[in-house]
Each structure stands twice: as C-alpha cells, then as structure tokens.
Amino acid sequence: TLSKKMKDDKMSNLVEEYFEAHSSSKVLTSDRTLQKLHKRRLNQETLRDLLKKAPLAFAPEIKELNQQHECLFSKWMLQLHLGFNIVLYGLGSKRDLLEKFRTSVLQDSVHLVVNGYFPSITVRSILNSITEEVLEHIGTFRSPLDQLEFIMKRFKEDSSLELYVLIHNLDSQMLRGERSQQILAQLSSLPSIYLIASVDHINAPLMWDQAKQSLYNWLWYETTTFSPYVEETSYENSLLVQQSGSLALSSLTHVLRSLTPNARGIFRLLAQYQLENKDNPSYPGLSFQDFYQQCREAFLVNSDLTLRAQLTEFRDHKLIRTKRGADGVEYLLIPVDDSTLTDFLEKEDEDV
C-alpha cells in the first residue's frame, strides 16, 4: 500500500500542479519583446538560405533510421492489400519517406499525392482530382457527398480500378475538420483505395471517433525520422518571421504611393496620432470630429465631405478601421501593428 500511497500523492501533486499553472491569470514572464532586441526580422527567403547553410546534425544516424523504415515498404504493401490503411506517426518530417515509398514501390500504379500542409487544399480538390484524373469524368457535382457517392459507385462497379492515396499531414489545418475527415474515411474504406497517411500533431487522434476509426481501419507505424519539417513549416505563419508584417508594410507604401500628397498627409496624421498614443491601452482611436479639425488646420482638406471620401478610399484598401465608441462617436484606427507603422513613417521621412 505504500507504493499506492506514493502514487496517490504523486497524482494529487500532478493535479495540484495543473490547477496552479492555470489558476492565476497573471503570468510571470519578462516584458522583453523582440522589438527591443535590435535585430532585423528575417523574412522567408533569408531564413531558408540560412537554414540551407546550417549543417544537418546527425546525418548518418538519421539516414540509418530512414533505412530501417524503408525495410517496411513491402510489408506495407501487403497490409494495404489486405484492407488495412497505414498511418505514420513520430517526430520528424515523413515527407521524404513517403516520397521514397512512392518512387520505389508505386511507380507503376495509379497514385495520388495530397499535400495536406498546403494551406489552400480542400477535400473538394482531392475528390476533384480523383474524378477528373483517375476516373476521367468530366462534370461537376453539387456537393462533395454526391461526388463521393459517384466515386464509390464507380470503384465498386469496376474492380480493376486501384488507387493509392498518399496524404502528407492528414492532420493539417484544412483537413482536420469533421466533414473532411468523414469523407476521407469513407473514401479509405473502399477496398480498392489504399490510403497511407502521416500525422504530426500531438492531438491528431482526437479527430476520429469510433465510427471513423473503423472506416479508416488504421495500422499505426512509428516512423521517427528527425528530419526537419522544411516544407511543412514554410506555410506556417511563424511568429518570428512575421510575413504579415512585411506584407502589410509593402502594401502600405504601395497604396500610398498612388495617392495624392494630401491623402498621404491625412494618413500620416492619423498614423502619428496613433503612435503617440500607443502606450495608452484605453486609446479608442481618433474621433472623426477631432481628425477633421486637425486636417483642416494642416490645410489637408477643406470640407467634411472630402475627408469622408478620402476615408472611404482608405477603408476600401483596408488601411483604416472605424469603430463606434460607447458615446456613439466614430473612432478611426489603423489596423497595423505599431512597429510596422513606425517603419512606415521612417521610410516616408526618408523619401521626403
């Protein structure tokens, strides 16, 4: 009973730890930000170049691991033909492994590769490529369900049709939805469609309930490769790369270049005002009346109407956002983060 007691203690400790971690809304971290680090932000290309230069650690060991996995290829084929579907899990990108499987084993057979990590992939496009390219059917379907039904019918009728489907990252943002998983599961339950997929997310198995799991008929294989997720993360909008920031900046300058000097001045005024108030968390934005007043004083507009027209143009380009405050007054905000705005102003100053 001593061990049991110990276990109990440990359990209760764990539980307490959990609640301790989640109880206080206050978080103890330092307030340092990347802004203060005085380091230029890397964009996607320089990142890729830098990474290419960096040597891959433990290359021989990783190669050995891969060779181990490659021994399983023939077994996979056998099991696929026996009605199982294969799912690969483990740390490291499984893209190269699947690619190798494809080139070495599936060369002569009809196969479909789905890049799940691709941000604009949908189930519909998967189904489309099956109907259009495998079944050579021209025509549209009203809903994916109809399309699925058609595919299932065709595959059941014609037993000579065989299709290997390789899905990289079955658990990606686009495919993890309930409906897409349902459709894929039904597809994979067809005896002449062989599915081999990889998952990476730690909570990937939560996608499937019992019914789907039995449709998928998974066999799990651990394939830890330790190879970096280069392709997969290139679409992940990382916090440090800040794609959106650089994009916003370039688009900002682009749009403003095409405007009249007065319009540029209006935007500058708003940006400056916003930067002055950036440390005030309750700053609601600049009210229209105040803004109008300031613009008049700077001789930028001559009437209420021209300012409104100008603001509408900004809004169309998503350069400003209006918000109605508690008192019913319209407040104007630039929905771009402060650092980008600072950069923008600096650049403007240089130009002038």
Binding site: I62, L82, R142, V241
Partner: protein, 650 residues
C-alpha cells in the same frame, strides 16, 4: 499469401454466419412485431444496441434483408451523416425507396425510367421550391407505392435510422411530424438504432412529437456475449490451425474491454495477428491442417529445416539422437511429422478438458479461476495452471460441493467428452459414467448410513463408568476415521480425477515442442500497430533522442539533455521549464546560449554576427516545428509570447 487469404476468408465466413445467427432471433421478434402493428400512430421500434457503433452495420444489413424477404420490399436505411437537413433526408429516403421498388419488380421497364426521372428532378430542386416539393415528393412517393402495392396487400414502408444519437433534433422531429400527417396513406414504420439508452428518445423528441409514435423497445445481445461466443468459435476449436498465445490474447481482450467494446476491432486485431504471423515466421507454412502439413513437411527445403532446428522449443528438446537430428534432413522430417501430430492431438484434447474444468470452476463462489472461459483459457496458456494459488483454492472449494451439483456437472462433462473428437476420451467417459452410476447407488446408500448410526446408538447402553469411557473414546476415534462417508470419498475421487485430467491435458502450449509454428506471440507488435501512442513516441524522441539516434554524444542520464542534441530537442527542453506563457526573446536567448556553448569552441568571435543569424534561423525553424506539432500556439495575451498547450514537464 494464399494460405493467408484462405484463412482470412474462412474466418470471416464463420464470423459472419455466426453474427447472423445471433441476431436472427432478435430480428424475428422485430419482424413479427412490425407485421402486427397497425394503428393511427407511427409504430416505432427502438433497438438498444450498445456503444459499439462499428458492429451495428452488419446487424442493420441483415435486419433489412430479413425484412425485405419476409414482409415488405420497402426498406430504407438512413444515416445521420447523409441527412444534415430534412431535404437531404427526403431525397435519400426517396432514392432508396425507389431503388427498392425497382429491385423488387424490375420487370417494369417504364417504371424504371420514371423513377430515374423522379430522382433527377428532386435532386435539381432548388432550396426555394423546397416547400412545394416536399408535398410533391411525398405525393409522388405515395402513388408509386400504391401502384406497386396493388397486388401485395399494402406492405408497410420501413425506415431505419441507423444512428439515432447523431441525427439533428430538428430534422428528426420534422420528419416524424410530416410522416405522421401521411400515415393513413402511407403505412410507415420507423426503427431507431440507439447506442446509449432509450431515454435518448425522450430527450431528443419533445412530448408533442413523441406522442405521435408508438414505441416498443428491443434489446440486443450485449457485446460481451458476442466476444465470448467469438472466442468460443475462433480460439477453442481445432478447426483453425492458427492459435494465439496468452499475451496476445490478453492484449486483444484488453483493447476490447477497456477501449471500445467493438467486436469488429477484435476481429481486426485477430486478422492483424494472422498477417503478422504469416509474414514474420518462416515456418508458418506448416500452420495448417494436419494432413496438409504433413505433405508440406516432406517438401521442406534444407534452409527451412535449418530454421526448425533453430527454434528454441526444438533445441531444448534435442538431446538424444542429437547428431541424426541436426544433420540428416530426412530423419528430421520424420520427427517433425510426429511432433506435429502430437501438437494436433494436444489441441484436440485441450479444448474438451478446458470446457470440463470451466464447468467446475464457473459454479464456484467468488470464481477463483474466473467466470468466463476466456479467463480460464488465458490462465491455462500462461502457466501450469495447477501450480497457481487460484487453482488450489478452487479445488478446495470443489471438494465441498453438494451432490446434485456434482452430478449435473459430471453429466455436462460427459456430454462434452462425447461430442469431442479426441480418441483418448473413451476411457474418460467410461470413468465418468461409472462415477455417475456410483452416485445413483449412493442414494440407496444413504439409508445404510442411517442404519450404521442406529448401530452406534446401540453401543450407548448403560454400563459402568469405565466402559462408558472406553466406548466414548472408541466412538471418537471412529468418528475421526469415519469422517469420510462414502459420498465424500467419491467426491474426493472425482475431484482428484479431474485434477489428473487437468494435469495431463492442460499443459501450456509454450511447453510443447514446435509451438512456434502455430502460436503467434509478439504481443508488442500488435499493441504498437493497433493501440499506438503517438504522444509517447514524440515525447521520447524529444526528450531522449538517443533512443532513435544512436550517437554517443546524445547519451544522457534522464534528467538533462546534452547540448549537442538536435535543435528541436533543445527548444523543447527549454520550453518545458516555462509556465503557461513563454517569452520568445528569453527563449531565443536561452537557446543561443546553449548552442553557442557548443559552437564557441571552434569558432571565434569575428563571425559572431553570421553565427547569430544562423542561430536565429534555426530557432525560428524549431519553434515553428513545435507549433506544427501542437505544443505551442501564438498568443495575443502579451506581445511576443506564445502559449503552451501542454503542461507539466521539467
């Protein structure tokens, strides 16, 4: 491979037929009932099927077949995923009913054309005209039904809802209300498949709707019973040469009992066992019926013979005639044939003796050896069963059984032995019958016992003190020695006999020579492929990369991680030390400190800017990998912070 497919097929046929049979009774009840029903309300059958959703498909399929054959040609199966709205539901229903019609009277060419037209039109209807169409649809359905029903006497239309729980309430309610309007023109019967409890009907449907239904409840067999019958059919027969070892069976049963209650998954696991066995074990070619196996033994190649010689169970056996066995293939083949025969006989004897023992142990209080035969089977496979404590206690309990129980048990045993095919049991049966006869004699013997008691009483005549003492002593002694009546003696004899049987026939398979051919015992493979734990794999890979990358530099003793590990491991380790939110700057700095410690040794400070950028890039890569894996996510709570999605660690 061919053998495999053969085996698979055989297995599946057997299972399907069995499942059919187990359901047939239940189905008959339902069909009978649906014949009978005719009233104003919609008759509804609620089938309580249990949580193993995956097994229900077969049930419904056979149910609809039975219904179609016996009662009505109009059976529609609806699934929740096909019916997000009432429109889809009606379409699906129509389509299925029309198809049913076509199936039944396919002679009508014209009918078919019309039907297909209907389908196209109803699929083309836009959402706006839905309201008009719903009447049209039901109308068009009704005449079509009536048209075909001229010769049949208005058969009912059965609609089966496969998964009641996952239907949206609104759709279900609407459908019930709509169909209740048409109930006099269109005799409709609903069947709900319920996974949880019948309470769900009342929680899904409000009173106004459920009052339109006339519900009767049906209970299906529990999945545990299914399992025990399947084990009975698959494992406790001599029909299949392929067997499972104790550990594998335990894994399969555990998955069943603790995870999903799904018979389908159990079968899948069994299938996987077969595949693995025939794939990995080179001697599995011999795993087939005896006659076939003998043929195959003769055609074994030299390398296969070598394989046999290498088997652990074979090597422990080889002691005499060692040289001949290890060198001459032909002699080896002869020996193998004999050994295979032994194994076969062992299987034949094993099952009836096991059943027999089960008859005894299953009636004991507290079930020391388990209630189900599968538990007993596991115990027998695991070890010598007579050496266990449980067996000891159950024998003790068996020695205290009363007579009527004992007799019925013995009768059962006789039946088992008679029906079994083993040849050696003639003697056993004889012996058991003898026991039975003796018990019948005992009935008479009871009176004798009474006499003997009276004779004892005679002794208690009045005598002097000395005599009295003497007789009392004698009595005491006699009581001690005569404690065992004839019945008790016999009882002991029976129990001992059973004990002997067990010792002779229930030797665990591991102790048999050449058991590797028939028994599949890599439980770890099974667990890995069926019941995988991706999070554990990720955790060990991140925490202790040495498990995978066999580099001495990565070797560490648990707690800390070497700074030469892959980037992602270092980043992960650092992130474990944080709380709920992580400051990216601090994280980056900690990472670069760790990495610089390695790199600083061979690079001077001149190139530090370049190095810095590289480290930054590597950090970005590692962090976005962690994000992809789901350990962290960007947080809006504070600038340049990420939120941890896991907890604990260090």
């Amino acid at each position: 491979q061919q053998v495999q497919e053969e085996l698979n097929k055989q297995l599946f046929d057997n299972l399907v037929s069995f499942l059919r049979r187990s359901h047939s009774e239940f189905q008959e009840k339902t069909t009978e009932w649906s014949c009978r029903m005719k009233s104003r309300e919609i008759p509804t059958a609620a089938l309580v099927l249990g949580v193993n959703v995956t097994d229900h498909d077969l049930t419904f399929k056979s149910l609809s077949e039975v219904l179609q054959n016996n009662i009505t040609p109009y059976v529609a199966l609806l699934q929740a995923k096909d019916c997000p709205g009432i429109k889809n539901l009606m379409q699906k229903l129509m389509g299925q009913l029309m198809n049913c019609c076509v199936d039944v009277d396919s002679s009508d060419e014209e009918d078919y054309v019309q039907v297909s037209q209907h389908r196209i039109r109803c699929s083309m209807t836009s959402l706006i005209s839905w309201y008009e169409n719903i009447t049209k649809k039901t109308d068009s359905e009704t005449p079509s039904k009536k048209r075909t029903s001229r010769h049949l006497q208005s058969p009912p239309v059965v609609v089966i809802f496969k998964d009641m729980e996952s239907f949206t309430t609104k759709v279900l309610q609407d459908f019930i209300v709509i169909s209740s309007q048409h109930i006099h023109e269109l005799p409709l019967i609903l069947i709900f498949g319920i996974a949880t409890s019948p309470m769900i009907i009342h929680s899904l449907l409000p009173h106004s709707v459920s009052s339109l239904l006339c519900i009767e409840l049906f209970q299906s067999l529990s999945c545990k019973e299914h399992l025990s019958t399947i084990i009975d059919k698959l494992l406790l027969t001599t029909q299949f040469a392929f067997k499972l070892s104790e550990k594998v069976l335990q894994v399969l049963i555990n998955i069943f009992l603790y995870h999903d209650f799904s018979v389908q998954n159990f079968i899948k696991g069994f299938q996987l066992c077969i595949v693995e066995h025939f794939h990995s074990q080179p001697l599995s070619v011999l795993c087939c019926q005896l006659v076939e196996a003998k043929k195959r033994v003769n055609s074994l190649s030299h390398s296969q013979c070598e394989n046999i010689r290498r088997l652990p169970s074979f090597r422990s056996q080889v002691s005499e005639k060692q040289i001949a066995l290890l060198t001459t293939d032909n002699f080896l083949k002869e020996v193998i044939q004999k050994l295979l025969e032994d194994l076969h006989v062992y299987h034949e004897n094993y099952v009836p003796v096991l059943r027999c023992l089960h008859v005894f142990t299953s009636s004991l209080p507290k079930y020391p050896l388990g209630k189900q035969i599968r538990e007993l089977h596991c115990a027998c496979l695991e070890n010598r069963v007579w050496e266990t404590e449980e067996y000891e206690s159950s024998l003790q309990l068996a020695r205290m059984l009363n007579k009527s129980d004992l007799v019925t048990m013995l009768q059962k045993c006789v039946e088992i032995f008679v029906s079994s095919s083993g040849k050696e049991f003639d003697k056993v049966v004889e012996k058991l019958k003898e026991f039975l006869a003796q018990f019948q004699k005992l009935e008479g013997a009871c009176q004798e016992r009474g006499e003997s008691i009276s004779s004892q009483k005679e002794l208690q005549k009045k005598t002097d003190l000395y005599h009295l003492q003497k007789t009392l002593l004698e009595l005491k002694e006699s009581r001690r020695s005569k404690k065992l009546t004839k019945f008790e003696m016999l009882r002991f004899e029976v129990v001992d006999f059973i004990d002997n049987l067990v010792r002779n026939y229930l030797v665990p398979a591991d102790h048999k020579t050449l058991h590797e051919i028939m028994y599949f015992n890599t439980a770890s493979a099974l667990r890995e492929h069926l019941n995988a734990a991706p999070r554990i794999a990720l955790h060990t890979a991140l925490n202790n990369p040495y498990c995978y990358l066999k580099n001495q530099a990565l070797r560490s003793d648990g707690g800390y991680i070497s700074n030469k590990a892959p980037d992602i491991c270092i980043v992960y380790k650092l992130h474990l030390e944080c709380g709920r939110l992580i400051n990216l700057v601090d994280w980056l700095e900690a990472f670069s400190t760790v990495v610089m410690a390695v790199e600083g040794t061979n690079e001077d400070a001149a190139a530090s800017d370049q190095v810095d950028d590289t480290i930054h890039a590597r950090f970005i890569q590692a962090v976005s990998e962690l994000e992809l894996l789901g350990f962290i996510k960007p947080s809006k709570q504070k600038t340049d912070h990420v939120a941890r999605l896991t907890w604990g660690g260090c």
